[in-house]
């Protein structure tokens, strides 16, 4: 249960596959155009249920409640060893093997 005023993330389909632009490629035409937005809940709502939110610009949006206090999921990913190999190769090429 999320409370009125909670900061949440919502989702809904903007266009079903049948309503998509004529110009989109075949694989894209098979799936809906989806949207995600965030805002403060205008009334109590359940996760997975329909809700209305007030966004940061003051618009009212509606959709399915999918996350309360939504996180940013960006990070630096898994370590990629090739990056160190690039460093070694470049320093070797410029400084002739003397590790700077």
């Amino acid at each position: 249960m999320a409370k009125k005023g909670d900061w949440v993330r919502i989702h809904r389909n903007v266009l079903e596959p049948s309503g998509r632009a004529a110009s989109v490629p075949e694989d894209t035409k098979k799936v809906p155009l989806e949207m995600w937005d965030k805002g403060h809940l205008l009334e109590d709502a359940e996760l997975g249920g329909e809700c209305r939110v007030l966004t940061r610009t003051g618009r009212v949006e509606h959709g399915t409640l999918i996350e309360v206090n939504p996180q940013f999921e960006i990070n630096f990913g898994d370590f990629v060893p090739e990056v160190l190999a690039i460093d070694d190769q470049l320093r070797d090429a410029l400084f002739g093997g003397e590790q700077a």
């Binding site: 155009l33 990913g77 090739e82």
Partner: protein, 465 residues
């Protein structure tokens, strides 16, 4: 109740845009296929000096130029004796929101405020979103950014997710969409709903704002080194960076070779759900750069102010692997960690410098900020998770969407020429379209020559007249 279907909303585009930009684009049309480009550029009412003043008032511009001594030394090791121009970079990442795009946003937001709009909207998955959000924050307007961000499995490109975070950090609403060109449809609905100003990437406000970059470059080189650069490399996607920079350079009395550079993503369809997360570069790539050069008006305005073919002397592509490689070189050899897409022009410059004598100067005219999601490690990690093979070898063998090949030796990095004449021909064919060739006036023909940076003889030969 208004009809909100795709066809109905896009059918109302002309009215929505006129309300959201405050400009009647019909006034620029010259009857046939031509329009008055300089009239469009002048229609903002802001001169170059005005744009400089506006940008200074919001902490944009006057970014430093740095000589990259170690990268130059490495280029000289790869070049024949006596070759390897001095390589410089203009550190646009030092703008408040971390990229040159803030020049493009500043005047739009300033103008929106002056005209009484309560907020601004921009359709962008790139640095422009953060730039508009930053300017809106500084100038006290609301801001809504519409992004194409996820594939149909809800998997987001890390670079775009980071930009969403940054926009939100700067106070904007970020409306995110799955893959598809209907980004503009959603933007039109938002413009209609909010009555905000359309801070389009392609407006004369935006492109006029970029002129300050070229103007600064020209003056900085005279002040610091007593001479102008011989070549300026500009990353090309929508064409605004190149158009604005070139116009600014010319206004500073500086006429270097203008070389466009894009990351090669040939074979990947930009609107494809499946291909969306198989690319590591979300901008500055051939998937935008080539079509926008030959069809500049396929944008969110009736006429784009970004017209790169007018100013382009040469157009080259570099690979994803090469651009990541030079991004790492900038970090490990020059001590500057910057975002990969912002190093597209530097990647090309590293190779192009090798074609030029040592006493010449080549400039990569931008850098961009970097961080979680948007640096080399998360991008490569994401590529590997999506089944892209990472390996060392000859970058010419790279297949976008299949592998990323880092040069196994620095001398294997090459900028490859795109067929500029073919792009010019393609532009002319698109511009004429179904218009009857025998009805083309002298004004139309002159326009086509200016648009393609060619002459009447070339235009006539393409049209077969």
């Amino acid at each position: 109740m208004k009809d909100m279907s795709y066809n109905a909303v896009t059918g109302r585009m002309a009215d929505i845009i006129q309300n959201a930009v405050g400009v009647d684009y019909k006034q620029f049309e010259l009857g046939g296929i031509a329009f008055d480009y300089e009239k469009l550029m002048a229609s903002t009412g802001y001169t170059l000096e005005d744009n400089i003043r506006i940008q200074e008032s919001v902490n944009v511009g006057h970014t430093p130029i740095f000589e990259l001594h170690n990268l130059t030394a490495l280029a000289r090791k790869c070049a024949k004796p006596g070759y390897g121009a001095r390589i410089f970079v203009k550190d646009e990442a030092s703008n408040p929101a971390g990229s040159f795009k803030e020049r493009r946003a500043a005047t739009s937001v300033y103008h929106a405020k002056k005209m009484g709009y309560k907020g601004v909207i921009a359709a962008t998955s790139g640095n422009y979103g953060a730039a508009v959000a930053s300017q809106a924050a500084m100038q006290g307007l609301k801001c809504l950014i519409v992004q194409e961000c996820f594939d149909s499995h809800g998997v987001g490109q890390p670079e775009i997710l980071e930009k969403a975070r940054k926009c939100e950090a700067l106070g904007a609403e970020v409306l995110q969409l799955s893959v598809g060109p209907e980004l503009f449809y959603e933007t039109l609905m938002m413009l209609e709903d909010t009555g905000y100003f359309n801070a389009s990437l392609y407006s004369a406000f935006g492109i006029g704002g970029v002129e300050t970059l070229g103007w600064e470059l020209g003056h900085q080189f005279i002040e610091k080194y007593g001479r102008h650069p011989d070549a300026v490399v500009v990353a090309n996607a929508g064409g605004g960076n190149l158009t604005g920079t070139a116009r600014g350079l010319h206004k500073a009395g500086c006429n270097p070779k203008i070389i466009a550079a894009s990351v090669d993503l040939s074979g990947l369809h930009m609107a494809s759900d499946k291909a969306f997360n198989r690319k590591s570069f979300t901008t500055a790539h051939t998937g935008f750069g080539v079509p926008h050069s030959s069809k500049p008006d396929s944008c969110d305005l009736p006429r784009s102010a970004a017209r790169p073919l007018r100013y382009m002397d040469r157009y080259v592509s570099v690979t994803q692997g090469e651009t990541f490689y030079i991004t790492e070189a900038l970090a490990t050899l020059e001590g500057m960690e910057k975002g990969p897409a912002g190093n597209t022009s530097l990647t090309a410059a590293f190779y192009l410098a090798q074609e030029m004598p040592e006493d010449q100067i080549i400039v990569a005219q931008e850098t961009e900020y970097t961080g979680a999601g948007k640096s080399i490690m998360p991008q490569l990690s994401f590529a590997r998770k999506n089944g892209i093979e990472l390996k060392f070898g000859d970058p010419k063998d790279e297949i976008p969407g299949t592998n990323i090949i880092f040069p196994s030796r620095p001398e294997l990095l090459k900028a490859r020429d795109l067929d500029l004449e073919h792009i010019r021909r393609s532009y002319i064919k698109h511009a004429v379209g179904t218009y009857p060739i025998d009805k083309l006036s002298d004004v139309d023909l002159k326009f086509l020559a200016e648009e393609t940076n060619t002459d009447l003889a070339f235009v006539k030969s393409v049209l077969g007249i």
